[in-house]
């Protein structure tokens, strides 16, 4: 009897792993196709798409597409721009949105429910609907910098960063997480005479690792994939991000190998960022699942 039970358990385990491997393969295949294709000349790449060879680094393999990609476009500059814009926005967004959520959850003030409702209502407003008014405002805004007082934010990093620091989704994520923190902790700290700033810095934020990771990854993806907004506000190549740069490769006769090489290169920062925060991200999702 015990033997049958052990066999069933083993079978279930094998089945489970087989399904998981299959799912993993389905998700990994596009990435494998992208990287493998980036190593092949166009003619071979197109010919291989009809067979499993599309996923195998076989035939005429080289790094020529990568060399050509760097010749066609300033790839390094685009990646650097995206990393700067995304990195700065993510950091500022985590600070601003967590502070806002802290004020909504822990600080008692008149009208906070209404203001929070208004902020959450912005989640249903697509960016495209506010893009043009935002463009008109951004093109007229003043700025004090090294050149003194100037007018207009176009062709800068700040125009790609500042409008995206605060957003309803990130605030919502923090609000939900903070609501689940034990209220006794905050009360005890208040009794001990801690200020709101101290509670935010020393108690709440050290406990917010999982939600910080989740919010950071989601924000990173949104910012790194920005296309419409930089297209509208950046005419200077020096400030162009990766997604606008992708269009450099879509000429009349598309060099697919170069496209794949460029995509492989710009995927590296995303993967690195995700892998860095993966543990905390999964912890956040898992804890959400348990509560649900």
């Amino acid at each position: 009897m015990a033997q049958i039970s052990a066999d069933n358990h083993g079978l279930r385990l094998y089945t489970r792993y087989a399904v998981l491997v299959l799912i993993a393969v389905i998700f990994i295949f596009p990435l494998v196709f992208m990287v493998v294709s980036s190593l092949k000349p166009d003619q071979q790449l197109l010919a291989d798409t009809a067979s499993l060879r599309a996923f195998l680094p076989v035939g005429d393999i080289s790094l020529n597409n990568y060399t050509a990609a760097f010749q066609r476009a300033p790839v390094g500059l685009f990646i650097m721009n995206s990393v700067i814009v995304t990195g700065v926005t993510v950091v500022l967004s985590l600070l601003a949105c967590s502070a806002a959520a802290f004020a909504f959850v822990f600080v008692n003030w008149k009208g906070r429910e209404l203001v929070l409702s208004l902020i959450l209502a912005t989640l249903i407003v697509p960016f495209e609907t506010i893009a043009i008014p935002l463009l008109l405002i951004s093109s007229q805004l003043p700025w004090i910098g090294l050149d003194g007082l100037t007018s207009g934010w176009l062709n800068t990093y700040r125009v790609q960063i500042i409008p995206f620091i605060a957003d309803g989704l990130t605030i919502f994520l923090f609000v939900q997480y903070f609501k689940d923190l034990p209220g006794e902790l905050i009360e005890a700290a208040r009794v001990e005479g801690a200020s709101w700033g101290q509670i935010y810095r020393r108690i709440v934020m050290p406990l917010a690792g999982p939600v910080l990771a989740t919010a950071a990854i989601l924000k990173f993806l949104v910012m790194y994939n920005q296309y419409l907004w930089p297209l509208m506000v950046v005419q200077d190549e020096a400030y162009r991000p990766v997604m606008v740069g992708l269009q450099y490769f879509f000429q009349l006769n598309i060099a697919w190998g170069e496209v794949m090489a460029y995509l492989s290169l710009i995927t590296v920062p995303v993967l690195a960022f995700y892998l860095y925060l993966q543990k905390a991200f999964i912890a956040s999702i898992a804890s959400t699942g348990v509560k649900g």
């Binding site: 197109l46 008109l136 297209l231 606008v244 269009q247 879509f250």
Partner: protein, 418 residues
Amino acid sequence: MKHFTLAAGALLASVAFTTVAQAQTTLSMWYHGAGNEGEAKVLNQIITDFNASQADWKVELQSFPQAAYNDSVTAGALAGNLPDILDVDGPIMPNWAWAGYMQPLQIDEAKIAGFLPGPKGYWGGKLYSIGLWDAAVALVTRQSILDELKLRTPTLDQPWTGEEFMAALDAAKASGKYEFPLDLGMAWTGEWYPYAFSPLLQSFGGDIVDRTTYKTAEGTLNGEAAVKFGDWWQGLFKNGYAQATQDPADRDGGFAAGKYAFSWNGNWAALGALAAFDDTVFLPAPDFGAGAKIGAASWQFGISAKSAHPDGASKFIEFALQDKYLADFANTTGLIPATKTAAAMTENYKDGGPLAVFYGMTEANALVRPVSPGYVVQAKVFEKALADIANGAAVADTLDAAVDEINADIEKNGGYGH
């Protein structure tokens, strides 16, 4: 003493150079060719030559990827941030001129008398843009295919009739050697549809819009000729002559791989087709009754309405119109030089050159797309209608609906200034 003289000379030279540099007024320029190494090389050479040729103006280039260019210009216009010089796709120009993005050129029109009609961008009787090249579409095939299928080689004087064209497709289909007899480039979307396919409609006697008034599409896009065209178009897909949806890889390499007997493609792909087979030939468009037609007008230079220096911008554009630059562009990109004299300076388009046939096609058959600000909408409506018909939608109903949509747009925009 020798050192002192050298130093003094260098100082004087640098002062003189600085004075010239300071005297030059900067003209900003936007161009759609980022990522296109060949075009960038020629354009940068023109700019370098122009900046060195005179002391008044200095052009500074900002390149954009083509797919992002029109949206960038529209956003720039909204933000009041357009450059002095911009380039514009020929059929879009009337819209930008009408919308107030552009101003007329100040160039001596005698200098463009010898230009092909396609590269000249007129709106409201004024020249708003001028191009250095044109593009053309041909029926690409191989002489060996024509011989094997026992087909007459059509010429500009005697193109295939509609019946001959269909007989050629039937022969290719009956041979059983090809996945499809005809590659129409259905993998390409957007401007390809009106550019490549509206001339076929025009050859049937229809059009996207009534060009006598530009105030309606009634009767031209849904009249008897247009419905006949629509039935023929749908038949191409229903009867297995062409595929309604196509893998982009097949568009890029299908003809070279022998999947198609004929390919409806542009001269920009011609060098690749010649490289694939040594007996590649480019045939003129068939004549479906109202004459053989192909599209015309490509990217052109213009001046933004906000430019404070239209005189300088015009000087640059006039400078760029020299035959040597037209020839350089043609040699680099494979596009058709705008003048006969420039064509004679190129390897591909000179008499007897492998692509010279395209110059003749443009001269003989080219028809610009409707010269109207409403074209930007009409092109999209036309594209959708043709895609729907290709996928089995009822021809007459689809064309009627397209006409309604175009007419409503014209009315909503007060006739677009016609």
